[in-house]
């Protein structure tokens, strides 16, 4: 046994390293939290890193997990060593092929970062719902509980599958293991070679399909033989457990690390045992060790091999003394007699327990969606087991006040050893805190004998995102797979967090509190909230401050305070001697930043050197501050928002009982407005004298924080002192006042509005009609102005000229204050749709960025108008969005048709005039729709007086006589890749749906993986060497049907064109497809100038503006109108303003040159084709129809 090499990495990388080494073909598709395994593989392939046998694996991205699984299946059939990685819904999509792969005894491993399934809501976090849904496929299932185990059992799985031909699903907990950073012992290539017998590989290849030895697989079988054939593979499963055990023994001989199929830890004479698998087993191990030291007769049985479930081995692993067993499932099977592991254990005991008295068994659930599972809960479980009437079918970790399943436990019970340094850091995503902490773990893990662990809690928002890092360091391996609750170091890296968050809630007595503060050691005490002061005094904290922003700024690092705060941590925590720590930080800086250039290294080194001079201890005084922590939600917010969503907002969602949450996943809209996130350092202020009232800022603001109104001067009577107004420049509003108002507390400070403002101050051209100013002094007065502005009367929607941006933008947005990235390129399109059609919109939203900023708790940006109407929104899945929304259309049309039939029958009773007015209204204009609403209200009134079943039916359906606008919304991952088949079918259906594809040309939400919309030459994950193929032309494909309205728009390039396309698409009585260019932080661009950058993109021909309107064809005109001009500049200039293209020149300069030339050729060719198509003479189709169902 050789000395192990240590590595500090997360579970995904630990697994990917093994999977990459042991495979030849890797089929991938991104899904959280498994994406990094595919990303690592693709990156290593790009670097031409070889596998164990010296060849570089072929890593290929598919259009969906179903495609990845099918490709795995195909590669296995043809003899390759093949793997894939997935989670959650992705695993569900693989299930059909998994049955095939297992049925054909094809050796492979699917590595799963286990994650919740979408049920009442989606969750990206960890539990076993997904893998349990795959337990019937015939795959063996091996579970890892830690990063080290995931690394080790990944190998065991690959070894055993080759030996036994039984395919393996190797799983570990999403986030808790996949994303936890741990110091582990690496498996050497030597061990890999000794474990993997090449003869198994040759056997696998010999079974391959090849025309040289032709065979037939995938037959269809009938009642006569299917059953027998299905039983024919039993011996393979019978021997699988033994093979796993053999591999584990061999592994132990080679590495010293011991694994068993069912591993018992605890008192040899234990009477109470809990059974579980996954990361929770580590926490249980820690708690059991602590309690057995106190003499408790308890133990924990860790399940590693879940399928095949080897009853005899399982039972043999239990101490004979056991009297009561609690089985924990990290999944929920509603309506089942018990959850799966519980039922398996019950069965194993019934079948294999050697004595007559079978131990008592109870089962329950824990940890769904990464819900915390702590030693305190473990103790609670043992306490329950000790009861004569132990609660069965329990839950632990929540307060179930509805079904009363939950067990109570003593929250103060703590097992963390004293020799573990426990540090928590509150940071902003943008300040680099997490990156620095990962660095810290590597320093301590790599340079000391300490073990190290890091786990990171992220925000559900993408702008102003708060991160909380939990770091542990200690002399023993760390099994604490739960968040820190007794920190001995807390770093608060942003001053503003103190306003809302209780950053000291998890701090231990006498701990160190480090605060990044604009106030020095003498002033800071009086500036922090009273609540924080009281905690500092009560807990006897040592309090330090540093103005990290100043140090970072002076070192040239802008707002990246990571290195500064990291240096403070090392200086104060004494994990390492100070000098040694500083030297190690500097070494890590060289390592981390060296490849990006010495300049970056230098500024970080400078920051380190300046830090200690600016770090001060604060004399803790009396708790008497006049400052108070702000409530999570304002007092005038609705109760649900205040009591439920407010708690979630301040990290107290765990406290909510079951009864607080809707049972069917239905939540109120119009809630983002209560958050008041105050994330902007600078906000725009309006200069009415310079403003030309064009409305561009309102249109292009991604966050709906800039609004305009026109109103009578009399309304200004009670205006706040600083409220600004000027005469309206619009002739239609002559004599009225005009105001542009910014919501200071909702603005993200992205600066898009200032960049797009065309009005310059003539005396001082550096200033425009909007100028960025410090938020803090403006917060209070502008908030008052905002409230006053909201109360001003809204314009009459029926009188606005909607084809003019300046008037259209007076419409109230019903999509506001989303948590999208500051400067997001998608949200302005959604906001525009919400302004135009929001009061009649029903939205099917594909999973992705828009479903996250649209529907991630606690609040939603989808809002309501003064009448209580607004977009109604739902997310089904990623792959099915078009079909999901199509269902809306079918249903709405059916409701409207039935209502029409009923109204026709009841016309005499409700009034013929009313009935014919309703049925005859084409509802083509805003005014028509408002009239229809009035008539339907009158109809419902009339129906109240009619006592018949038909009248009651009509009353419940009458609202469907008012036009409803169905929108299928999503990104390019949905529309070009995973959902393309469904989108294609729905568009071809001829039904009136509007598909809005916000094309960021990359999978944005999962971190920038290439899609088929990614342009040639762009670097993305899964295309680390630059995307070699040209972008798919989705619009052209749709146009080939002839009956689909298709528009390609770029709002930043030509806003009125976008507006026109939206109006036409919605008005078109058939399927519409709007492909909207959406800039994205995954492009590596300056987000402030991203809208104006869209102009360059259109001018170079990289993005075309066009509209294809089948109604024109019906009139004998060419349906295609090319709305952008011939490219007037090459693509290079605009491409190399985006890091996604430019970085290829830094990584593969030769490939970059070639791909640039190819990209230019793509543009030239595409322009010629579109120019030709748009100039064709067409003839009318003769019947004046656009080809859709009438």
């Amino acid at each position: 046994m050789s000395n192990p090499t240590f590595a500090t990495l997360d579970g995904n990388e630990a697994v990917a390293r093994i999977a990459y080494k042991l495979n030849e073909v890797i089929a991938i598709y991104p899904i959280t939290p498994a994406s990094p395994m595919g990303e690592w593989s693709d990156a290593w392939m790009s670097e031409e890193r070889p596998n164990l046998w010296g060849t570089v694996p072929s890593v290929v991205a598919l259009q969906a997990e179903s495609g990845a699984a099918a490709s795995v299946h195909g590669a296995l059939q043809t003899g390759s060593l093949t793997t894939t990685f997935t989670a959650s819904q992705g695993l569900l999509l693989m299930i059909p092929n998994m049955y095939k792969i297992a049925g054909e005894l094809s050796p492979c491993v699917i590595h799963v970062a286990a994650r919740s399934l979408a049920a009442q809501a989606l969750s990206i976090f960890g539990d076993h719902s997904d893998v349990m849904a795959a337990r019937a496929t015939g795959f063996a299932m091996l579970c890892s509980a830690s990063v080290q185990e995931a690394h080790d059992l990944a190998l065991i799985a690959h070894v055993v599958t080759l030996e036994t031909r039984v395919p393996f699903l190797h799983f570990f907990d999403g986030f808790r293991t996949s994303h936890e950073v741990q110091k582990i012992k690496e498996i050497s290539d030597d061990v890999l070679r000794q474990m993997v017998d090449d003869e198994w590989i040759f056997a696998h290849r010999n079974r391959a399909m090849t025309p040289d030895r032709p065979v037939l697989r995938g037959t269809a079988q009938n009642p006569d033989v299917y059953f027998q054939a299905r039983e024919s593979a039993n011996p393979f499963y019978e021997h699988c457990g033994e093979a796993v055990e053999r591999a584990m023994v061999q592994f132990q001989e080679l590495t010293g690390r011991e694994y068993q199929l069912y591993q018992y830890v605890g008192a040899p004479d234990a009477e109470r045992v809990i059974v579980l698998m996954g990361s929770g087993a580590e926490t249980a191990h820690e708690a059991v060790a602590h309690l057995t030291n106190q003499g408790e007769k308890i133990g924990v049985l860790k399940v590693r091999l879940y399928r095949p479930f080897v009853n005899a081995k399982f039972v043999a692993a239990l101490p004979e003394t056991v009297k009561a067993i609690a089985v924990l499932d990290r999944t929920k099977e509603p309506g089942a007699a018990g959850d799966p592991l519980y039922l398996d254990v019950v069965n194993a005991l019934m079948e294999s327990w050697p004595n007559a008295t079978v131990p008592k068994v109870i089962g329950g659930r824990y940890g769904l969606s990464s819900k915390e599972f702590t030693p305190a809960m473990v103790k609670g479980l043992f306490d329950n087991l000790a009861q004569a009437q132990a609660k069965n079918h329990f839950t632990i970790g929540i307060n179930d006040d509805v079904s009363h399943t939950s067990l109570s436990f003593d929250r103060t019970f703590d097992t963390e050893p004293d020799n573990v340094v426990r540090a928590m850091f509150y940071g902003l995503g943008s300040d680099g805190t997490v990156g620095a902490n990962k660095n810290t773990i590597k320093i301590i893990g790599g340079e000391t004998d300490n073990y190290a662990q890091g786990y990171f809690v992220y925000d559900s928002k993408k702008s102003g995102a708060v991160t909380i890092s939990h770091l542990r360091f200690g002399p023993q391996p760390i099994r604490s797979t739960y968040l820190i609750s007794q920190a001995n170091f807390v770093g608060c890296h942003q001053w503003t967090f103190l306003e809302k968050l209780d950053v000291l809630s998890g701090v231990a007595n006498g701990a160190i509190f480090l605060l990044n503060s604009p106030y020095g050691p003498d002033e800071v005490w009086s500036q922090i909230p009273l609540e924080t002061q009281e905690q500092i005094v009560r807990l006897g904290l040592k309090f330090y401050v540093i103005d990290a922003n100043k140090v970072a700024r002076e070192s040239g690092m802008g707002n990246r305070i990571n290195t500064v705060m990291q240096t403070c941590f090392f200086a104060l925590s004494n994990v390492l001697p100070r000098e040694q720590a500083i030297a190690q930080i500097k070494k890590a800086i060289e390592k981390t930043y060296g490849k990006k250039g010495q300049r970056i290294v230098q500024m970080n080194l400078q920051a380190v050197d300046s830090t200690l001079d600016n770090l001060f201890e604060v004399n803790v005084g009396e708790a008497n501050s006049l400052v108070r922590r702000r409530p999570a939600m304002p007092d005038d917010a609705p109760e649900f928002v205040r009591e439920v969503e407010g708690k979630i907002l301040v990290n107290r969602g765990d406290e909510l009982p079951v009864s607080a949450l809707p049972c069917d996943g239905t939540y109120p809209t119009d809630t983002a407005k209560w958050e008041k996130r105050n994330v902007a350092q600078f906000i725009p202020t309006w200069d009415p004298d310079v403003c030309v009232q064009c409305g561009k800022c309102i249109l292009l603001c991604p966050h709906a924080v800039i609004r305009g109104k026109v109103y009578d001067e009399a309304q200004l009577a009670n205006a706040p002192e600083t409220f600004k107004a000027t005469a309206s420049r619009d002739r239609d509003f002559r004599g009225q006042k005009f105001t542009i108002q910014v919501s200071p507390e909702d603005c993200t400070g992205c600066g898009i509005c200032v960049d797009v403002c065309p009005a310059k101050n003539k005396a001082q051209p550096s200033r425009r009609a909007l100028n960025m100013e410090d938020q803090l002094p403006l917060r209070e007065p502008e908030s008052a102005n905002w409230d006053f502005f909201l109360d001003l009367p809204a314009p009459d929607r029926t009188q606005l000229k909607l084809n003019q941006v300046r008037q259209q933008q007076l419409q109230e947005p019903l999509f506001e204050f989303s948590g999208a990235c500051a400067g997001c390129g998608e949200t302005p399109y959604l906001k525009l749709a919400s302004q135009l059609f929001g009061d009649r919109m029903i939205i099917a939203n594909a999973t992705g960025c828009s479903s996250i900023y649209g529907g991630n708790l606690p609040t939603t940006p989808w809002a309501k108008d003064a009448h209580g109407r607004g977009p109604t929104w739902s997310n089904s899945l990623f792959e099915d969005n078009a079909e999901f929304g199509f269902g809306f259309r079918l249903s709405l049309d059916k409701h409207a048709a039935f209502a029409t039939e009923l109204l026709q029958g009841l016309a005499g009773q409700v009034g013929d005039n009313l009935a014919s007015a309703i049925l005859g209204n084409s509802q083509k204009t805003e005014a028509d729709i408002w009239e229809q609403r009035d008539r339907v209200a009158a109809l419902k009134q009339a129906l109240q007086g009619i006592d018949s079943p038909e009248a009651k039916q009509l009353a419940s359906l009458a609202d469907y006589l008012v036009k409803k606008s169905v929108w299928l919304v999503g990104g390019d991952g949905w529309a070009y890749d995973i959902g393309f088949g469904g989108l294609d079918h729905v568009l071809a259906s001829g039904r009136n749906v509007n598909a809005l594809v916000m094309d960021t040309e990359v999978y944005s939400n999962t971190g920038g993986q290439a899609s088929k919309a990614t342009p040639r030459g762009a670097v993305a994950k899964f295309a680390a060497g630059g995307k070699p193929a040209a972008k798919k032309d989705l619009g052209l494909i749709a146009m080939t049907y002839g009956n689909i309205y298709v528009a390609s728009v770029a709002m930043g390039a030509r806003d009125e064109h976008t507006l026109r396309a939206f109006l036409e698409a919605e008005a078109y009585d058939g399927p519409s497809l709007i492909i909207a260019y959406s800039h994205c932080i995954a492009h590596g661009i300056n987000m402030q100038t991203a809208m104006t950058h869209q102009k360059e993109i259109v001018e170079s021909g990289r993005w075309l503006l066009y509209r294809y309107n089948p109604d024109l064809a019906a009139q004998g005109q060419n349906p295609l109108q090319l709305d952008s001009r011939a490219p007037k500049k090459g693509v290079q200039e605009s491409m190399y303003n985006e890091n996604r293209f430019k970085m290829l020149t830094k990584t593969k300069p030769d490939a970059a040159k070639q791909l640039l030339a190819d990209a230019q050729a793509d543009v030239n060719h595409r322009w010629q084709m579109y120019e030709y198509l748009a100039s064709r003479q067409v003839t009318a189709n003769g019947n004046g129809s656009n080809g859709n169902d009438e």
Binding site: T32, P33, S35, P36, E39, D42, A43, S46, E47, I124, F175, H179, L428, G429, S430, G432, T433, V434, G435, F456, Y458, D459, K461, K462, A465, T467, R560, Y593, K595, K596, G597, Q598, R599, I600, Q602, K760, K762, P765, C821, I852, S1004, N1005, T1006, G1007, G1008, V1019, A1020, K1021, A1024, I1081, A1082, G1084, I1085, N1139, R1140, M1143, T1145, K1146, T1147, P1149
Partner: protein
């Protein structure tokens, strides 16, 4: 007829060198065409101090922007093990140029402050450059900085770069010194091997429609050669460093004038950008034609012949000549004045 010369210790087949400009040297094919058209050496386009820094900032910014914020997207780009940041690309270009052509390759480094970037000179040498042209491009706007401090900056940068390399170093300067001759002498004392006179400053223009200041690169005109010609003539024979001219050489006779003033080499840019690379052959032909007509057997014979120390009237390049100039100028409108 011998048109060969030496410059910075390099033997050149002629005094004609394309000057540092991206359109002339960022492409290896263009460099080959220049060699084929008779270029005596190539001065590669400049790599800028700001470029070296900025590129790194940008890369770091874009690779880290938005990362580690949101659980599903902890990064947005793959991060390869190596990046060819700034210098790498330029250094590769030097290597490629050296592979592609036989004439000397002179790299160009452009900066205005003392800093880590000067180490890059060493990498340039290691990449195979035959010489280095250092372009110190500084527009002092700090009201609290004295002229002496500004001049010291030049000397410090020159010292720093000189200490990094053993290959010849030329300095491309602007004419805006209180005493150009003094500066030339100081730089000469530092061991600088050549002075390239003069740098033409970027002079921005105002866009009246957009109300923004725009970069506006003007090609040089024939008049622009007068200033460098004068200073070459003044400095010739007084310092050890070679002198090269840049700016305003449009015709063969301009080359002759520069050589006669004392230039060892004549850099050409605007003429090539206007007329194309083959124009280099025209310039050479015109030079030869003039030499033939005037019976000069070699370039070396004419080099410095009209410099201040050799010309018939030493005061020609000084103030006295200025007075003569004014007196000899008669605008047409004045010609008929009473």
């Amino acid at each position: 007829m011998d048109i060969s010369t030496t410059y910075l210790g390099l033997d050149l087949r002629s005094p004609l060198i394309p000057s540092a400009a991206a359109p002339l040297s960022e492409n290896i094919d263009t460099i080959k065409q220049l060699e084929d058209a008779g270029a005596a050496a190539i001065v590669l386009h400049s790599v800028f101090e700001e470029q070296l820094k900025q590129e790194q900032y940008e890369l770091e910014h874009h690779l880290s922007y938005g990362t580690e914020s949101f659980a599903e997207a902890l990064t947005y780009f793959p991060e390869p093990e190596t990046f060819h940041v700034g210098p790498e690309v330029y250094l590769d270009h030097i290597r490629e140029a050296k592979q592609a052509i036989d004439i000397p390759v002179i790299a160009s480094l452009n900066g205005s402050s003392l800093g880590g970037w000067t180490h890059f000179a060493k990498l340039i040498q290691e990449a195979g450059a035959d010489a280095l042209e250092l372009n110190i491009y500084s527009i002092p706007t700090d009201m609290h900085k004295t002229s002496a401090q500004v001049e010291q900056d030049y000397l410090d940068i020159a010292t720093a770069v000189r200490s990094e390399v053993t290959i010849p170093v030329a300095l491309k300067l602007s004419p805006f010194f209180s005493n150009m001759a003094y500066m030339a002498k100081r730089l000469d004392d530092l061991g600088i091997n050549g002075l390239v006179l003069f740098n033409r400053f970027y002079q921005p223009d105002i866009d009246l429609e957009e109300l923004i200041v725009r970069p506006n690169i003007l090609l040089s005109s024939a008049q622009d050669m007068r200033l460098p010609m004068r200073w070459i003539a003044i400095l010739y024979g007084r310092i050890n460093a070679d002198l090269a001219s840049t700016s305003g050489v449009m015709h063969g006779r301009d080359v002759v004038k520069m050589l006669m003033s004392g230039a060892k080499a004549t850099q050409v840019c605007s003429a090539l950008l206007r007329h194309g690379i083959p124009y280099l052959q025209t310039l050479e032909a015109e030079l030869k034609h003039w030499m033939e007509e005037h019976e000069y057997e070699s370039v070396q014979l004419m080099q410095g012949s009209m410099s201040q120390i050799n010309c018939p009237d030493e005061s020609s390049f000084e103030r006295v000549q200025y007075m003569k100039g004014i007196q000899s100028y008669q605008p047409e409108s004045f010609a008929f004045a009473p």
